[in-house]
């Protein structure tokens, strides 16, 4: 009878353990295939634009192209003129400020600082023509630049400091006849070069993403799914899903991995449970700037040095600028491990004219909100860009300097190399006071990292966070994480009780041995 009970018990335990081991659901392979088929499908154009007689002509100005576009697509320009790509700002509710318009017009960054007064140069990345210093022409629909996004001939380029006009070498007829759905090149030509060079701003969006390999990005890889930007940034009526929190404030219209992958994509539930507090990107983007360096630090205070009266530049071994007379000193990084922050989708920004009272620690220009206790928050990977930038210590405001001009003597820093004049003119342009005193303060900007997703076998491993030393999440201290954290009282009491027990039994045992030896001698 005893033996039977024993055998039954052993069998039961084995069976139950097996059930638990085999319980893990296997992912349906058809699922992945359907996903790939759905998003990989080649867009077949409904019309061949080269066969339209309207486009078979010479265009004297890019506006004529736009007019022709609108003559058929006669509602699309209205969508464009309501879009962020056109307005460079959106209406958002920000706690403490109410409903405001926030965008490139009033926010300040810690790269080239701001667009105000520098529009002619910045407009190279505006989807319009003829931007002047006051951004006139925003109400004229023929100034919409359809081609920069819809050119499929790969020949369209905008000129430098031409207010958004195309380079004179562009064959407008060819471009107009070869329009279609935007490709990575159309988006990338602006979004990969923000901040005045490749990969300066984002770190995860740069030239290598035109034709990335699987190593760089599993989704857009030309040897993989080869997705275009709109596969994730789903677009309807010229409104794209997704936002970059250098300028966005509200938790809405975000582009999320869950659109395709659901919130429980893992075979192992313990991984799925992490999705409650950890964003997909946190584990699946172990490093960013995988191919080319991204700018990590920018020190404006050293700008303006000249050699023999001429501006100069210094480069590092990879060809990255480490010093430019017009911009100051830089630091770059490649294969960077992101920093991590809690984020609930809401951010607040430093806007032109805001007073800075606490200069003891770096000023965060776009604060990402969130915490462990906030159920909406998740841990996200962030590129933090650190700067030292101009500041008026009397009025306690960040300074918007005048940077660009086509003539000398107008106060532009990049032409005249005079900080005082650049600050004076720049602040006057934005109707803000300038005390005449110029100093520099440390600022930080947070760039959530969302691209350059690695294959799953390259993703961040458990122990990279769950460890006492050099945990990736060492900076997030508002919660208890197994493997990283310990309660000092418990550690003390626990270790003390083990040590005391060991000491006690050894002493007891030793005395017993000694006594028994004595007796043996007797």
């Amino acid at each position: 009878m005893r033996k039977i009970i024993l055998i039954v018990a052993v069998l039961f335990i084995i069976i139950v353990s097996l059930v638990f081991i085999l319980r893990e659901r296997t992912l349906d392979p058809d699922n992945l295939k359907t996903l790939a088929d759905k998003y990989q499908r080649k867009e077949k154009s409904a019309a061949d634009h080269s066969k339209f007689p309207e486009l078979n002509r010479k265009f004297n100005s890019p506006q004529e192209v736009t007019e022709t576009c609108i003559s058929c697509h006669n509602e699309r320009h209205k969508e464009i003129m309501q879009s962020n790509h056109w307005n460079w700002e959106r209406e958002e509710y920000v706690e403490g400020r109410g409903i405001i318009h926030i965008g490139k017009k009033n926010a300040i960054n810690n790269f080239c600082i701001g667009t105000e007064g520098n529009e002619k140069s910045c407009a190279k990345c505006h989807i319009g023509f003829g931007a002047t210093d006051k951004m006139q022409g925003y109400s004229d629909s023929t100034n919409i630049d359809c081609m920069v996004c819809h050119d499929n001939s790969e020949t369209y380029v905008k000129g430098s400091e031409m207010g958004g006009y195309p380079d004179p070498s562009v064959n407008l007829t060819l471009v107009a006849q070869k329009v279609g759905s935007p490709k990575r090149t159309n988006c990338g030509v602006c979004h990969f070069f923000g901040g005045g060079g490749n990969n300066v701003k984002h770190g995860d969006l740069e030239m290598s993403m035109f034709e990335p390999t699987k190593e760089v990005d599993v989704h857009m890889a030309i040897d993989g799914a080869n997705l275009q930007c709109q596969a994730c940034h789903e677009t309807k009526n010229h409104m794209m899903k997704g936002r970059v929190y250098s300028l966005s404030s509200m938790n809405r219209n975000r582009s999320e991995c869950e659109q395709c992958h659901t919130s429980t994509p893992h075979e192992k539930n313990i991984l799925n449970e992490h999705t409650l507090k950890v964003a997909c990107q946190t584990c699946h983007i172990p490093v960013y700037a995988k191919v080319n360096s991204t700018k990590t630090e920018w020190d404006w205070s050293t700008a303006g040095k000249l050699k023999d009266g001429e501006p100069y530049e210094e480069d590092d071994s990879l060809g990255n600028h480490t010093y430019l007379s017009i911009k100051g000193s830089f630091k770059w990084g490649r294969n960077l491990v992101p920093e991590y922050q809690w984020f609930n989708g809401n951010a607040s920004h430093y806007l032109l004219g805001d007073i800075v009272n606490d200069t003891s620690k770096p000023l965060v220009l776009n604060t990402l909100h969130g915490s462990y206790s906030d159920p909406e928050s998740k841990i996200i990977p962030v590129k933090v860009h650190r700067s030292i930038q101009p500041f008026d210590p009397v009025n306690k405001m960040l300074i918007q300097p005048k940077l660009v001009s086509d003539k000398s003597g107008q106060g532009a820093l990049w032409v005249d190399f005079d900080w005082q004049r650049a600050a004076e003119v720049g602040m006057k342009d934005v109707n803000l006071p300038y005390s005449g005193k110029l100093s520099f303060i440390r600022t930080e900007m947070n760039w959530p990292v969302n691209h350059m997703v690695s294959a799953k076998d390259k993703s961040v491993q458990c122990v990279e966070c769950h460890t006492k030393n050099n945990s990736r999440l060492a900076g997030l201290t508002d919660f208890y994480m197994p493997g990283r954290d310990a309660n000092s009282f418990v550690e003390f009491v626990g270790k003390a009780s083990i040590i005391l027990t060991l000491v006690g039994v050894s002493a007891h045992g030793l005395i017993r041995i000694l006594i028994s030896r004595k007796k043996g001698k007797k």
């Binding site: 335990i13 999705t275 919660f479 039994v505």
Partner: protein, 245 residues
């Protein structure tokens, strides 16, 4: 004079050694999860720890059933009798080769200190570890296509209690391993837990005690039977009376 007695039943020994194995394994994986060292790899350590935890829970369920079905649970009822004498023995008597103050018998395998410590383990430490462990595993759980969470503010209290319990269990295992050497010979306790048989100091009254217990049990059963049969008779008589009426 001594006799060899069958003291630990088969299931008891199986339960003891399975529990020992699982607790060692749980400690090995658990302290890796705690970040004390690296061996299995964090992900494996977590998975193994969970499997071992389920196995231990199943074992505990069987053990509880065994304890109640055999009446062995009574072994753990705490007693003041000889408690001080037992403590005195471990502190002083053992060095003077004094006799064990508590005689081990089949009916009373545990000395009063053991009773107290094992009862503490059974009703306090193990339940606290099981409950905090289950909370640790299930404070987040899959529900349909989503992940739900219990409304625990933080994992910290759960983790802290579970860790403290783990430290105490390690301390217990150390003292347990030492104290089993304090039997008649150094290995007699260990051998008993392996084979089930232990040489026990002869207790002249042992047989009598067992006989007595048996007699009492039998008497009880008999008297119960008597009572029942009497009742039956009565009801039968009553029925007869009713019928004759």
């Amino acid at each position: 004079m001594s006799r060899v007695v069958y003291i630990y039943k088969a299931f008891e020994r199986f339960w003891h050694w399975m529990q020992a194995l699982l607790i060692f394994f749980l400690a090995a994986t658990g302290f890796e999860i705690h970040g004390t060292y690296k061996f299995f790899g964090y992900e494996n350590a977590v998975a193994y720890h969970n499997y071992a935890a389920y196995a231990l829970i199943i074992l505990i369920v069987f053990a509880i059933f065994w304890h109640f079905s055999t009446g062995e649970w009574k072994q753990y009822l705490p007693t003041k009798k000889n408690l001080m004498a037992q403590a005195n023995y471990y502190l002083f008597g053992i060095f003077k080769n004094a006799p064990h103050p508590t005689k081990k018998t089949v009916l009373s395998k545990l000395n009063p200190l053991q009773k107290l410590v094992y009862l503490g383990l059974k009703i306090l430490v193990i339940p606290v570890m099981v409950i905090s462990g289950l909370l640790y595993i299930y404070y987040r759980y899959p529900h349909q296509t989503n992940i739900e969470a219990l409304s625990i503010e933080s994992l910290a209290p759960v983790a802290v209690i579970h860790t403290l319990g783990a430290y105490f269990l390690v301390a217990f295992v150390i003292s347990h391993l030492y104290l089993i050497t304090t039997g008649e010979t150094i290995t007699s306790n260990l051998r008993a837990m392996i084979t089930g048989y232990e040489e026990i100091e002869d207790n002249e009254n042992l047989n009598e005690e067992i006989e007595k217990e048996k007699a009492i049990e039998e008497k009880k059963v008999e008297s119960e039977k008597k009572l029942e049969s009497e009742k039956k008779l009565e009801t039968e008589n009553n029925q007869k009376l009713i019928i004759t009426d």
